[in-house]
């Protein structure tokens, strides 16, 4: 007979330590912060400065707890947000230790000494950590009788962010965010002692694309949003989770509405995607919902040539009749970048089934055939398992091609910067000059010496493909073995660039990711709103794939068109020539296309034009029938972000009389005697999911020879250009506070070229083509010789519309 051995304690797993918190034993991974371990146990220690995504600072001292090490109590209470766990530690929080409780009350009292009694007029009131924690852990009354420190208020630190210095508890969350996450430290601690305060340099306003995040993480109402100031209280708001519709990041949003009006948007918390950060455009640009130009009633152009409001029945009848009459002559379908997957699917199906054509294209921007081949071979059907934010973060090296991450994919930029900072990821940029994004993703951070930064791979616009084919050895080496290549949609502007990216990917084994600028582009590709692909990435030229789709759609065999359709430019050119009889256009801005004048000519010449739009636009002005559609706040649906991750969202507001594109198209198709079965986004999504993706092997990658850059003649330069994040985008209208933080439009050129062309820094320069000219002040930058840079669509600088030229074209430059 044996005696049962004494019950043995479970072993501490490897890499863990065992400690006691409030009398409970717990195993915690080595290096974990005490405050996190407490959280896991459900013990909430009050805190202000601690933020899980920022480095510990220990600035506010609110999180004091009593700690015993090796049986000896530490002489003073310790800040649990800076102390890591250790074996045998005994921790007592305010729940079990009067010492910790008293210490916390003392800190709270000190914090409140100079805190104004602003709660009734403070935007944070009702959702304020200081308010809540003062109630939970503070003293019930104040012993302070002197006069509080006051500052004139509020101090606008940018057009978007207002600072009330007397409310600040100096937790430094805002400064740490600017420094560690965004990398643009415009905001800092000034002065010392009782006068310590947050401030900005006199001549430099807080001009950051990410400033809105500081408002959200400020634990008091010291940083408030100019746009939301005094608009409401937390208990008035109804929150819905949304998805960013301005960029392809798929960032999670929290949309707060009051009485049918969106009042503010906050960043949602999605560790897989945007963590807790979003850019300011995604946060602040939403008043397009209520702007004056919103269309809410259908309109039909009458005999007098004027658009007049009418009933849905009438408008749909006129549209259907016009389209039916035009069917023999050909119908083209053009969409823009604002479509959800479901809406894009409806357009794709409408084109195939109701219009009987493959002439459908979502690319409302410069595009190429090479791009179609690249998308078919490398992008369509891929998901986060192929390339995701976390894979991107873990990669040892990343190369950005035709992508200015901060301007075109800000959330991706934050990940790149995080990786550059935390894991010394090498982020190379194939571009023209050391943009803020290039500087802030350099490993040698803070070094002003260009020699210390080797992460810009300069290329004359047009020569990118050639440079890519002949990359410096260290870049190729870094990319080999787990590297990532991110290519932007602007690659379509350089012939051969997509081919070069594909070749480089094959050569180095680096994962290739396509990062479009707009939210709807990736979804439109997978939903088949392209001339060469059916939904699910099936090639239109593949008979088996067509048969699959035909049977799923209940069509007779052989009804789907067999040839690759025309792209946006070709469709519009055909419209101008009269080769196409009608167009259905959804959310396209002709000024974003390579040649806006030609696009407008096409829209003007077309026999019959149906426009599905949010706002009056260049297209609705020419349309025969205008059908209003629902913006995101009024519809549900999903976007595919650049990773190919499906990001679903629900409607934040009631429909309010507007319908999503898929419903409008469904009804229009019914009028044309065809069934799309896309009455609701859910129905469309269900059908798309049932269709799945084709199983044919991916087609071959494009293999175009690299193009030669143009050689500037006398008084000429090669134009480089891309859009800035905050510019004249159609969904950023009516946001003066946001527009105030846009980067100024300037002409960038290097010193030698400027001298040759007779330009001086700060003085005006004129960039011209035979179409028009743009005059803006000169800013010197490290561009290659003979290259001039202009922002794509910022104020004066409407490159495509005014110059009719784009990236890689020759322009004249004069003083």
């Amino acid at each position: 007979m044996t005696i049962a051995p004494e019950e043995k304690k479970a072993l501490v797993p490897d890499g863990y330590v065992r400690l006691t918190i409030d009398g409970r034993e717990v195993d915690a991974p080595k290096g974990e912060l005490l405050i996190r371990t407490c959280e896991r146990l459900g013990i909430i220690v009050p805190r202000f400065c601690d933020h899980p995504l920022l480095d510990p600072a220990g600035a506010c001292r609110q999180c004091l707890v009593e700690v015993e090490m090796g049986g000896r109590p530490m002489p003073k209470p310790q800040a649990s947000c800076t102390m890591t766990v250790a074996d045998g530690m005994v921790v007592k929080t305010q729940h079990t230790s009067p010492v910790a409780d008293k210490a916390q009350q003392g800190v709270m009292e000190l914090l409140l000494i100079n805190h104004p009694l602003d709660c009734p007029i403070c935007d944070k009131g009702g959702e304020c950590p200081l308010q809540n924690q003062a109630m939970a852990h503070g003293r019930t009354d104040s012993r302070f009788v002197d006069v509080k420190r006051t500052f004139p208020k509020p101090l606008p630190i940018s057009t978007q962010v207002l600072l009330d210095r007397e409310r600040c508890v100096l937790c430094q969350r805002c400064t740490r965010f600017s420094e560690q996450i965004a990398g643009d430290p415009f905001i800092d601690l000034l002065e010392r002692g009782a006068h310590q305060q947050i401030g900005v340099a006199q001549d430099k306003p807080f001009q950051s694309y990410f400033s809105g995040n500081t408002i959200q993480i400020c634990p008091v109402g010291a940083l408030t949003s100019a746009q939301y100031r005094f608009r409401s209280r937390p208990f008035d708001l109804v929150s819905t989770m949304g998805v960013d519709e301005h960029t392809a990041s798929g960032a999670a949003l929290r949309i707060d509405t009051r009485r049918g009006v969106v009042l503010r948007r906050l960043s949602g918390n999605d560790p897989e995607v945007n963590e807790e950060w979003i850019d300011d455009k995604s946060r602040f640009a939403f008043r397009y919902l209520t702007s004056k130009g919103r269309i809410t009633r259908p309109m039909v152009r009458g005999a007098d040539g004027q658009l007049a409001e009418t009933s849905w029945t009438e408008a749909l009848r006129v549209a259907a009749e016009g389209l039916l009459a035009a069917r023999a002559g050909g119908i083209g379908v053009l969409t823009g970048g604002r479509l959800t997957v479901e809406d894009a699917y409806a357009y794709a199906k409408f084109a195939r089934v109701a219009a009987g054509t493959n002439d459908v294209d979502f690319r409302a921007r410069p595009h190429s055939d090479e791009e179609l081949d690249f998308l078919a071979s490398h992008v369509v059907g891929t998901g986060p398992e192929h390339l995701s934010y976390s894979r991107l973060e873990a990669a040892p090296a990343v190369l950005c091609v035709a992508l200015e991450p901060e301007e075109e994919a800000p959330v991706v930029f934050l990940r790149l910067r995080k990786a550059a900072l935390k894991t010394a990821q090498k982020v190379f940029h194939l571009g023209q000059w050391s943009t803020p994004a290039v500087l802030r993703t350099a490993v040698e951070l803070g070094s002003a010496e260009p020699a210390a930064r080797d992460n810009l791979i300069p290329a004359v616009p047009g020569a990118e493909a050639a440079v890519l084919a002949d990359l410096p050895a260290h870049v190729v080496e870094a990319l080999t073995g787990g590297g990532v290549i991110l290519v932007g949609e602007r690659a379509a502007e350089v012939p051969g660039l997509y081919s070069a990216v594909a070749a480089l990917g094959a050569r180095t084994g680096a994962a290739v990711g396509w990062v479009p600028r707009r939210a709807g582009d990736r979804g439109a590709l997978d939903a088949g709103a392209v001339p060469n692909l059916l939904p699910g990435g099936r090639l239109v030229t593949d008979a088996a794939a067509r048969a699959e789709v035909e049977s799923a759609w209940g069509l007779a065999e052989g009804t789907l068109p067999t040839a690759r359709g025309r792209d946006t430019d070709e469709i519009l050119a055909a419209a101008a020539m009269g080769d196409i009889a009608a167009l259905v256009v959804g959310g396209l801005d002709p000024n974003d296309l390579a040649d806006p004048a030609a696009a407008l000519a096409g829209l003007r010449e077309i026999g019959f034009l149906v426009s599905l739009e949010l706002h009056t636009s260049a297209v609705t002005e020419l349309a025969d029938v205008v059908l209003p559609v629902a913006p995101d706040a009024h519809r549900s649906g999903s976007y595919l972000n650049w990773e190919g991750r499906r990001r679903e969202f629900g409607a934040a507001l009631e429909a309010g009389g507007v319908l999503p594109d898929c419903r409008v198209l469904d009804t229009l198709a019914v009028e044309m005697d065809v069934d799309l079965f896309t009455q609701t986004p859910a129905a469309a999504a269900g059908e798309l999911a049932r269709l799945g993706s084709g199983n044919a092997a991916a087609p071959a990658a494009p293999a175009l020879a690299p193009s030669e850059p143009l050689r500037p003649g006398f008084g000429q330069a090669v134009l480089a250009s891309w859009r800035q994040l905050i510019d004249d985008a159609s969904l950023a209208i009516d946001e003066p506070a946001l527009a105030g933080t846009a980067r100024p439009a300037v002409v960038r050129i290097n010193a030698a070229t400027a001298e040759r062309l007779g330009l001086a820094e700060g003085a005006d320069a004129t960039v011209r083509t035979e179409r028009g000219s743009i005059t803006l002040p000169v800013a010197l930058a490290d561009l290659p010789d003979g290259v001039v840079w202009l922002p794509g669509k910022s104020g004066e600088s409407q490159v495509r519309t005014v110059l009719g030229a784009g990236h890689g074209d020759l322009v004249g430059v004069t003083a």
């Binding site: 009734p120 007029i121 509020p154 005094f230 608009r231 409401s232 209280r233």
Partner: protein
């Protein structure tokens, strides 16, 4: 016969008692001093509104009868001292239960209750009182906002030493006059 008078006993005895019937509406009997009647949005002595649009009254209200939207005071159009004022203010008297919790919640003593109780109507719309209806009348010395701060430099002056400043500036001391 006696039975007859006995039956009317209560009636006759009541004839000689004091009448308790209120002759309403011919007479308008005042309510008890602390009666919870119609609300009033008070003013500072110079006519600026006391309400800062903080919505605390709306928050406190158990019947969800109050609707407030805040607004920004600008240099051109100032309705209250300080930065914030109540831009929209409504009380729905179909919902209000007269509990007075809103009065207790108000941090500026803007909201108080009057003794006025004649609030009946034949439609719902008219029982939602708007800010114009709820604002206290302009007493002598008061000026219809928007106008600049007359009593001091900042809202602190109004809150900390309002009455003193008002007395120092007799033009705007209607309160003092009333007390006299």
């Amino acid at each position: 016969m006696f039975e007859f008078f006995k039956g009317f006993g209560v009636t006759f005895s009541t004839m000689f008692k004091k009448v308790v019937t209120e002759e309403y509406p011919e007479n308008f009997p005042p309510a008890a001093p602390r009666y919870h009647g119609r609300h009033q949005l008070n003013r500072h002595p110079d006519g600026l509104e006391k309400c800062v649009g903080c919505e605390l009254c709306a928050w406190a209200c158990p019947a969800d009868a109050i609707y407030v939207e805040g607004g920004d005071n600008t240099e051109e159009a100032r309705f209250s001292p300080g930065e914030r004022f109540g831009a929209i203010y409504q009380i729905n008297y179909l919902r209000c239960i007269g509990c007075g919790l809103c009065i207790e919640a108000c941090p500026t003593r803007s909201l108080t209750m009057t003794n006025f109780y004649e609030m009946a109507d034949d439609n719902r719309q008219d029982l939602i009182y708007t800010k114009e209806q709820l604002l206290a009348p302009l007493l002598p010395g008061m000026e219809q906002p928007p106008h600049p701060m007359r009593l001091g430099e900042s809202e602190q002056d109004y809150y900390v030493q309002g009455p003193t400043l008002a007395r120092a500036n007799p033009k705007t001391d209607p309160v003092g006059e009333q007390v006299k």
